[in-house]
């Protein structure tokens, strides 16, 4: 049974080895002449300003929340797509009702300007 998933396991192992390997090899092979400037966190070449852990705006939260909700809608579409031919018109109407109800929510979000970054 697990044999079918062997490629995924191999991919995970290779990815983990690549990630760990690059850190380990560069720490073994690379030179270690550390200076205060080198040890600074890299911030696109700019001088770091303040802590990285700043308080984030609630706008991110709203976007994340909307992302989850429409993500769940998409998850329901997968089994429907698999069974599309067998369910036929009945399935189409069923999914139509589901999507239209969520589409109302989408229009609400749009009209309220929740997708705007103000």
């Amino acid at each position: 049974m697990l044999g079918a998933y062997l490629p995924i396991i191999v991919l995970l192992v290779v990815a983990a080895c690549f990630g760990l390997g690059s850190v380990v090899v560069s720490s073994l092979v690379g030179q270690k002449k550390l200076s205060p400037v080198k040890l600074q966190p890299y911030e696109c070449g700019c001088e770091p300003v303040g802590s990285a852990q700043e308080r984030f705006s609630i706008k991110f939260y709203l976007i994340a929340m909307l992302f989850i909700l429409f993500d769940i809608e998409c998850v329901f579409l997968y089994p429907w797509a698999v069974l599309f031919k067998r369910l036929g018109v009945f399935g189409l109407i069923e999914m139509g009702v589901f999507v239209v109800i969520l589409f109302v929510g989408y229009i609400y979000v749009w009209k309220k300007g929740a997708l705007e970054w103000e």
Partner: protein, 167 residues
């Protein structure tokens, strides 16, 4: 082979869940929780439920963890705050012991694996797991499925009302 694989995955899952509650930095806890979700997805695959595994990764490890990380950043929690009080220790120990007793009680009364369900490995192999889920979701559980959309709609409206400055 399969038992060995299960043991490894289960051990990682337990280790990561311990890290979730032991880490001082909430972001580290969140990252450990992602790893726990991936282990759960692997266990779903081993239970011949690949669709559930995909959902576990897409919805839990993906979307819900994004939300949790954003909430941690929104509240700007640096380290775990608050002391462990005598009260909390006692309550925790009592709850843990109660749950342990409950588990032991039900395990001693019935078999370890429990009764088999109507759909076995052969049925899943013949029809396919996603097809089986879809079939019951879109025929037998039609009403709950449609009600889900109302629930999602309510959540959308709730999120906008709560997080938007002027609605």
């Amino acid at each position: 082979m399969e038992t060995l694989f299960f043991s490894i995955v289960a051990a990682i899952a337990i280790l990561m869940s311990i890290l979730v509650i032991r880490c001082k930095n909430p972001i580290n806890s969140a990252l450990s929780l992602i790893m726990t979700f991936f282990c759960l997805a692997t266990l779903y695959v081993m239970l011949e439920a690949p669709f559930m595994a995909a959902i576990q990764v897409i919805v839990y490890a993906g979307a819900i963890m994004v939300l949790i990380v954003f909430v941690i950043m929104l509240l700007n929690i640096r380290t775990e705050s608050g002391r462990r009080t005598q009260h909390a220790l006692f309550l925790g120990a009592a709850t843990g012991l109660f749950l342990l007793f409950q588990t032991w009680y039900f395990l001693s009364r019935s078999s370890l694996t429990g009764a088999k369900g109507a759909i076995d490995s052969a049925a899943i192999a013949k029809v396919g797991h996603t097809e089986l889920i879809g079939q019951s979701l879109f025929t037998e559980f039609l009403l709950p499925f449609e009600i889900t959309s109302i629930l999602l709609l309510a959540a959308i409206v709730g999120a906008v009302v709560l997080a938007k400055k002027k609605v």
